[in-house]
């Protein structure tokens, strides 16, 4: 028997609210399955199980807020011969021609969705990403709706549930418009708007009240993490200017050849150079724990994403060093979209071995990051801007980016940090080799 506990989804998390169980007692789960949705102060997160087995008992009810480490469920590990083998992913049968976009196929594989069971809404009935997302909505595993005697467990997306909580909307009274009757964000917002229009004194919950709460909680979570960082981590800072003319020229040429959905942003090149450089400077990639450095088990790049409405979150692009520039661009776009809507996974919040903060083209020239504990370094890219650049006795205007490194002096020194930044510079001068 093993315990499934409230995970710590970041250094700033002390408690979590169990929003929803995705499994019930008796269900078989395999490592990596999403078993619950947990609300941290920052977001609704899909939490995976780390052991295959059978769910014996759920110990915490949906809606309960519990400390990190609390046992949420007991899981009987698999492995005895009596237990049927874990269902394996069915390979696509060669005869069945299911029309689906490449992105949809990838997503379906990630989410374990069988394309054969989905009704496509794209051109010619092709299955598109949105269809997979609708099918993979966690609520979709819930039992078919029971007759109205007792309020049936509504199918609802995690985002919609959070908004419903924030707005105090009773989800049992909403008819879902999503796939399979799933209640979507739009349904909840419509219900909230309808209630406001009704101006019933009985619906006295002030709709604007919860948002400041969420905002305050987010600020507190960030405050806890950065305070710990500045209290415990002796930061040192290095800065350098990098000539981006070669990288941007390469990017422009590449983008001319690419249709809009495949276009690259400079951020993809910056992330690629960072991930590659970390391979040569492993002392920046990992954690300071128990008085020593523990290297990361891969290069998982945390990317700071600002959230509209306030705050930020830094989920990781897993195994960023093994990805091409195009793959990093796709991963980045996907991560930003999910960070701002719904569907970040627990591992993405806990696995980052290094963080990059990229202010983008509307930011300031320079950003000095605060290390996210227990990581040992953070890289900051300011906006790329045209600046005077002296080279070989000549002065010219070039696109330049300021890169800064904030690193834990317990784990590394300024000399290695300088070499690390120089390596990133070197890589960005040969964008075609990235």
């Amino acid at each position: 028997m093993s315990d499934f506990r409230m995970p710590s989804l970041g250094a700033d998390m002390t408690h979590g609210t169990l929003l929803e169980w995705m499994v019930k007692p008796g269900d078989q789960v395999k490592r990596g399955d999403i078993v619950a949705v947990v609300d941290t102060e920052k977001a609704a997160i899909q939490v995976e199980v780390f052991e295959s087995g059978v769910v014996e008992e759920l110990l915490v009810d949906a809606g309960a807020k519990v400390p990190v480490g609390t046992v949420l469920a007991r899981i009987e590990p698999l492995g005895t011969p009596l237990v049927p083998p874990t269902p394996v992913e069915r390979p696509p049968s060669p005869g069945a021609r299911v029309k689906a976009s490449p992105a949809a196929r990838v997503l379906a594989q990630e989410r374990g969705v069988d394309l054969g069971t989905i009704h496509g809404t794209g051109p010619d009935g092709a299955i598109v990403r949105e269809d997979i997302e609708a099918a993979a909505v966690p609520g979709a595993v819930a039992a078919p709706a029971a007759p109205a005697a007792e309020p049936a467990p509504s199918k609802i997306s995690p985002l919609a549930r959070r908004i419903a909580d924030d707005l105090h909307v009773d989800v049992t009274r909403i008819r879902g418009s999503g796939s399979g009757g799933t209640i979507t964000k739009a349904d909840v917002e419509r219900a909230a708007a309808a209630r406001e229009r009704a101006v019933e004194p009985s619906a006295a919950q002030p709709p604007e009240a919860p948002t400041p709460d969420r905002h305050v909680a987010m600020r507190q979570a960030i405050a806890a993490a950065v305070s710990r960082s500045k209290r415990e981590i002796p930061h040192y800072y290095l800065g350098a200017r990098i000539d981006m003319s070669r990288a941007l020229t390469w990017l422009e040429a590449a983008n001319r050849e690419r249709p809009v959905p495949d276009r690259l942003l400079p951020a993809a090149l910056l992330l690629k150079a960072t991930a590659s450089a970390l391979g040569k400077f492993p002392e920046f990639n990992g954690f300071w724990v128990d008085g020593g450095f523990r290297p990361g088990d891969g290069v998982h790049l945390g990317v700071a994403v600002f959230l509209r409405g306030g705050g930020l979150i830094a989920p990781a692009i897993m195994h960023a060093d093994g990805k091409t520039v195009s793959e990093l661009m796709t991963a980045l776009a996907d991560l930003v979209r999910r960070a701002r809507s719904e569907g970040l996974r627990g591992t993405e919040l806990t696995s980052a071995t290094f963080t990059v903060t990229n202010l983008g083209d509307r930011g300031t020239d320079t950003v000095f990051g605060v290390i996210y504990p227990p990581q040992v370094a953070i890289l900051g890219f300011g906006r790329i801007a045209e600046q005077p650049w002296a080279e070989e006795g000549m002065l010219a205007a070039r696109p330049v980016v300021h890169v800064s490194l904030a690193a834990d002096h317990r784990a590394s020194d300024g000399h290695r940090g300088s070499l690390f930044l120089a390596e990133i510079d070197r890589l960005l001068q040969r964008p075609e080799d990235l």
Binding site: P261, R308, A333
Partner: protein, 90 residues
Amino acid sequence: MTADDVRRTILNALQTIAPEIDPASIDPSADLRDATDMDSMDFLNLVLAVNKELGVDVPESDYGRLNTLDHMVAYVANRMSATHSEADSA
């Protein structure tokens, strides 16, 4: 499709990207990215939506011509009618 339809489509896409923005509050002659706090990823998503919904592929070199809502509507409507007249004359 009229310029108003184009404007509506763009504003719808904008709402998906920046849900907290009231479309009515956008000054059509102000810098759109400043007004809506769009980063380069948001802007790329807007260009992507224009491509998907209206079939106009905006090359990167033309991004500068999409700096305000009015300019964006004019650019897209112009590109759409150009495509139509090409098709007519063919």
